[in-house]
C-alpha cells in the first residue's frame, strides 16, 4: 500500500499544529466579538451562532486546510452546528455568560451545557473528519470533554473575575478561556487522530 501525500502530511503534524489550532480558535473568538455582544441566555441565538461559529470555523479551517482533505467542510458543518445550537434552548453558548453568580452552579451548568454543545458540534465535525481520519468518532468524545471542561472552567473563572473587578468583562475573559481550554483538549485529540491515520507501508 502506498502512503498518500495527504496521509503523510497528517502523520507529520505535531505540537506546532496544536498551538496553531489553539491560537486560531482564540483569534476567531476575538474577531467574532466585533459582531457579537456577549450576553445572557435568551439574548444569543441562531444568528449569533452562525456568525460566531463561522468566524471561529474559518480561523480553524486556515490551520487544517493544508493537512486535512476536504477541510472546507469544516466551515459548513460548524456553521450549521452553531446555528442549530442557537435555535435550540441551549443558545449560542460560546458567547453566553450565565446570569447566576453561584460558582458551583456555573461549574454544573458549564459541564451540562458543555457536554451538550460538545456532543452536537462533535457529531457535526465528525462528519468532516471521518473522511480523512480513522477512529474519527473519538473526536466526538474529545469535543464533549473539551467543551464540558472549557465551559465549566471559563464560566467559573469568569465569575471570579467578575467578583474581583465588578465588571462584565470578567465574564468575557472567562469565555475566552473556555474557548482556549476547549481548543487545547480538542487539539490534542486532533493531533492524535492525525498521527494514527498513517497507513502501514507494505
Amino acid at each position: 500500500m502506498l502512503i498518500t501525500r495527504q496521509s503523510r502530511k497528517l502523520g507529520e503534524i505535531g505540537w506546532g499544529f496544536w498551538l496553531q489550532w489553539i491560537l486560531a480558535t482564540l483569534i476567531g473568538f476575538l474577531v467574532s466579538l466585533y459582531w457579537i455582544e456577549v450576553g445572557g441566555t435568551p439574548d444569543l441565538n441562531a444568528v449569533e451562532g452562525v456568525i460566531g461559529g463561522g468566524a471561529i470555523a474559518i480561523a480553524q479551517w486556515w490551520v487544517i486546510r493544508q493537512t486535512f482533505p476536504k477541510a472546507w467542510w469544516w466551515i459548513l458543518v460548524s456553521i450549521v452546528g452553531w446555528g442549530v445550537l442557537g435555535l435550540s434552548h441551549i443558545g449560542a453558548v460560546g458567547w453566553i455568560a450565565p446570569s447566576t453568580s453561584s460558582i458551583h452552579l456555573r461549574i454544573l451548568y458549564g459541564v451540562l451545557n458543555g457536554a451538550k454543545v460538545g456532543l452536537l458540534m462533535g457529531v457535526a465535525q465528525w462528519l468532516m473528519l471521518r473522511i480523512s481520519v480513522p477512529k474519527a468518532e473519538q473526536w466526538i468524545l474529545a469535543s464533549v470533554a473539551g467543551w464540558a471542561a472549557g465551559l465549566s472552567l471559563g464560566w467559573s473563572i469568569g465569575e471570579v473575575l467578575h467578583r474581583i473587578t465588578g465588571i462584565f468583562l470578567g465574564g468575557v475573559v472567562g469565555l475566552t478561556l473556555a474557548w482556549v481550554v476547549t481548543a487545547a483538549v480538542t487539539g490534542t485529540t486532533l493531533v492524535k487522530l492525525a498521527r494514527e491515520s498513517i497507513p502501514e507501508v507494505g
Binding site: 456577549v38 445572557g40 439574548d43 455568560a97 465588578g166 465588571i167 462584565f168
Partner: protein
Amino acid sequence: MLWGKKSKDRLIYLLCVGVAIAALFASPMLIAKSQPTVTPASPSQEIRGVWISNVGSGVLFAPWGIDRAVKQLNQLNFNTLYPVAWNRGYTFHPSKIAQQAVGRSQNPTLSLTHPGGDILSKMVTLVHRNGMRVVPWFEYGFLAPKNSELVKRHPTWLTYAQGSREATLKSRSQNPLDALRNQVTPENLWLNPFHPEVQQFLLDLIVEVVERYPVDGIQLDDHFGLPVELGYDSFTVNLYQQEHQGQSPPDDAREPEWMRWRADKITQFMGRIAQAVRAANPKAIVSLSPNSQDFAYGSYLQDWATWVERGWVDELVLQVYRKDLGRFQAELSQPAVQTARRRIPVGVGILTGTWGKPVSIDQVQDQVEAVRAQGFDGVSFFYWESLWGYIAPESPRDRRRVFQELFTPPPS
C-alpha cells in the same frame, strides 16, 4: 470525482468572500439585537446626553465606533452628544489653531486610525441626521499634561503654586473623571487662565469649532477654572501687583480677596467666550458642566453662579457623581442650582462608571428617577463606554433594557 481540487478551492474561497462581504455590511455587535426603534425625543425636550471621551474608550478610534455609538444612542432615544474636542493638549478635529500652537492639527492617534478624516465632522453629520444635538466638549479646559507638546512649546503659559515651579497638583476632587485622567496622565499642569496668550488660544480653539462645524453649541466643564493653590507665577504676580499698588498676592492661597480677584478674571474670560460663541453662531449654546458651586469656587475658582446670572451660560449640566442617593439629592437642592433653574435649562450629570469604578444600573436608574422627581431638565451620563460597555457590572443588553425603559416613551 464529482469536483476537482480547483473547483473545491474556488468554492471555499467564494464562501470566505461571501462571509467577509456579509460581515462588512453587517452592523457590528448589533446584528441580532437591534432595539426597537422609537421616535426620538426632540432636543427641546428632556436632555438625554452622554459624554464621549477618548480616555478609557475606543469609540473615537475604532473605524466603526462612531457609527455604532450614534446608532445605538438614537435607538434608545438619547438626544445629545458631548464629544470630546480638547483633551491632553490635542484637538479631536483638524485644527489650524492647534497646528500653530502644538505642531499637530489633531490627536496623533486619530491621524493613524482615521487618516485624513475628520471625526467631528462625521459625528455632526450623523448626529444631526438622527435628530440629535452635538455639543463639543472642551474637556481639558486649562489642563495640559506635563509631557505634552503644548507645555514644551509654551512653558511661559503655565501657572504655579507658591514656591513651586511645578504646577502639578494632586487632585482634591473625588470626581471619578479626575481619577480616570490621573490613571493615564498622572502629571497634569495648568495653563495660566490670566495670560492673554492662553486666553486667546482657548478662545480661538472654541470659535474655530463653532465657525467651522454646524454644532449645537460648545461645552466647558469643571476644568475651565484654576486650582485655588495656583496663580503664583511671575506673570500673575506682576498683574496682581499692577492692580494692587505693588502689593504681592497673599501667601494664603485661600485669602478671600485673592480668591475673588482670580475668580473674577476667569469670569471675565468666560464672558469673552460667551460673546465670541454667539457672534460666531447665534444659535450655538454655551453649555457648562461644573461641580457644585461651593466646590467649584472654593477649589477651582470657578464662580459659575455668576456666569449664569450674567446670562453667559445657556445650559447647565451639574456633575453629581455621588453613590449615596441622599447626598445625590442634597446636591440637587443647593441654592445655586435652584437659582440657575429659574434662568436656564439645568440637567444633571450622572456617573455610569469608569474603568475600575463600575456603577450598577440600579443606581443609575434611581438617580435618573430622582432627577425627574425634582423636575430637572434632563440628564447626561459619564460616559459612553460605561453606559452598556463591558466595563459595566451587568451585561450590555441588560443595561440597554433599562435605558430603553427610562427613555420610552418620550416624555411629552
